[in-house]
Symmetry: C2
Subunit: 276 residues, 2 copies
C-alpha cells in the first residue's frame, strides 16, 4: 500500500522505485500483487508514466488510512534499539514542571534502558487512560476509585498566596493578582475565602505560565509551596501576609496488577525521593 501511494503521487514506477530504494521491477511486482489480491486494476500504465483507475482512486483513501495507522503506531510505541521497555507516566497538568523533570532525571539514571513517556493532562482523562491501561502510573488531583486501580495519597500540596512585592492581604486588592486554576475544589475554597464579586482579570490554567507571567510583569497568585520555595528564599517572591492557605491532596494511581513490578517500584521510589 505504501508503494501504491508512492506510485499514485509520483505517477511513475521508476521514480517510486528510486524513492523507495528498490528496483523498478520490484515496484512493478508489488503493484501487480496488490492488484491481484483485490482482483482489480488500480493503475493504468501509460506511455509516459501512469495514472489511477476509478478503483485506484477509491483505494487511495484506504491505503492512506492503513499506512497512517502503522506510522502512528510506530510513532507512539516503537522504541529505540537500546531501550528494553517504556514506562508511561501521566501527570496532572500543574505538576508537570514541578515533578516531571526531576522524576525523568532519576529514572534516566536508575533505569537507563527504559524509555519514559510523560503524559500531561487533567485528572479525568488521565484516569481514563489509567483505567484503559494506556499509562502505567499517574499523579491525580481527583482520583476515582475503581477496581484494579490502586490509589494512594502522594502528598498534600499547600497552595500559598505569593506576590512579587512584600505586602499583606489587608493592604487591599492589587491589580496584579492572577487566578491560577488549581481545579474544582480550589475554586470552591477560593470563592469562599474571597468575595464573590472579586473576579480576577487574568486566570491561568497552567501554573508555570502564571508564574512566568507574574515574575515578568509583577503580581500575585496562588502556587504550590514546594514549587516556589526557592523564589521565597531568594526574595523574588514574598508570602502575602494573613492570606488564607489552601490544601490540595495529590494522589498516585496505578494498576493493582503492577504493584510488585520492578519498574513500578523504581518509578515510585523516584517519586518519593523528589517529594522528600
Amino acid at each position: 500500500m505504501r508503494t501504491f501511494l508512492e506510485v499514485s503521487s509520483s505517477g511513475s514506477f521508476q521514480a517510486s522505485a528510486e524513492k523507495l530504494h528498490v528496483t523498478q521491477s520490484t515496484v512493478s511486482a508489488r503493484i501487480k500483487a496488490l492488484e491481484e489480491q483485490l482482483n482489480q486494476a488500480l493503475i493504468i500504465r501509460k506511455r509516459n508514466g501512469c495514472e489511477l483507475t476509478t478503483a485506484g482512486r477509491l483505494f487511495h483513501k484506504h491505503a492512506v488510512a492503513a499506512v497512517q495507522a502503522w506510522e502512528r503506531a510506530r510513532q507512539e510505541i516503537a522504541l529505540p534499539d537500546d531501550m528494553t521497555g517504556v514506562f508511561s507516566f501521566g501527570i496532572q497538568m500543574n505538576h508537570w514542571d514541578y515533578i516531571a523533570p526531576k522524576w525523568l532525571d532519576i529514572m534516566w539514571k536508575t533505569e537507563p534502558s527504559i524509555a519514559t513517556r510523560v503524559i500531561s493532562d487533567y485528572s479525568d482523562p488521565l484516569m481514563v487512560q489509567l483505567r484503559d491501561g494506556h499509562i502505567d502510573m499517574a499523579i491525580l488531583y481527583r482520583p476515582i476509585h475503581q477496581p484494579n486501580i490502586h490509589i494512594e495519597q502522594l502528598l498534600d500540596d499547600k497552595l500559598i498566596l505569593v506576590s512579587t512585592e512584600p505586602r499583606t492581604l489587608e493592604m487591599g486588592r492589587v491589580d496584579g493578582y492572577v487566578f491560577v486554576d488549581w481545579g474544582d475544589e480550589f475554586r470552591a475554597q477560593h470563592n469562599l475565602a474571597f468575595p464573590k464579586a472579586y473576579i480576577p482579570k487574568i486566570s491561568f490554567g497552567a501554573a508555570t505560565i502564571a508564574l512566568n507571567h507574574i515574575l515578568k510583569n509583577g503580581g500575585s497568585g496562588y502556587f504550590i509551596e514546594g514549587f516556589i520555595k526557592h523564589f521565597l528564599e531568594d526574595e523574588t517572591l514574598f508570602l502575602v501576609g494573613n492570606s488564607p492557605t489552601f490544601h490540595r491532596p495529590t494522589y498516585l494511581g496505578y494498576p493493582t496488577t503492577a504493584i510488585d513490578s520492578r519498574l513500578h517500584k523504581a518509578a515510585i521510589r523516584a517519586l518519593r525521593k523528589i517529594i522528600n
Copy 2:
C-alpha cells in the same frame, strides 16, 4: 496486526492459531516479528494464556485501524474472480427505480465480465464523486460545469400530477395529495403553481416510496411521466385534469477523458436504449 488482534481478543496463542488456521509456532513467530519491528514487547506471555502490555494496549487501536482500512478497501473495490473490471454509475435518487434496474440488465448482458456498482445519491454528492473520479458516470438533475467533466442533457422528464381516482384540478383539494420532492427547481415551480398556504400533509423524498404509498392508500402526486406510463394505461392511476405539468431536464455527466472508452460507450448506449 490481524494476528495480534486475534491474540489480544482470545488471550491465547493456541486458540488464535486455530482460528487463523495456522500452527501455534506461526502465531508465535508473527507476534515476535511484530514486536521486533516495534522493538517493544506487546504481549506478556503467562502460564495460563497471555495479556497485553501497556504498549500492546496502545498498539491495539492502531492495529484495528489498519486492519479495518484493508477490509474496507476490499469491501469497496475487490472484485470476484470472474470479473475483469467495474463500472460505477451514480444515479440521482429519484431515478434509481426508473432507470437502474433496466440499465443493470442491459449491462449484465452486453458486458458480462464487468461488475457494476450503482450509487444512489443526490446531485451534489454525485457531482463531487464524479469530480474526484470515484464514479465513472452519473445521472444528475443539477450539474455543475467543471473542467474535465463532460455534461450533456440526457432527457427532459415531464412531471405530471396523477391520482388514484379520475378527477380534475377544479374538483378541489383532496386529502391524499403527497408532495414528492423533485428538488429545488420543482419546489419553486410547485410553489408558484399552487397557493403557498397549501402545505401537503405528506411529503416524500423518494418517488418510489411515494408511489407505493398512493397505490396502497389512494391519493395523488407528481411523478415522471415515463415512470408511471403503464399505470395510466391500465387505469390504476389517472392524469388529473387541467393540472400544471413541470419539466425537469436530466443530465448525464462523465469525465472527458473517458469519452472514447469502450465501457463508457457501452454504458451510454445502454442508457439511450432505455430512454427511447
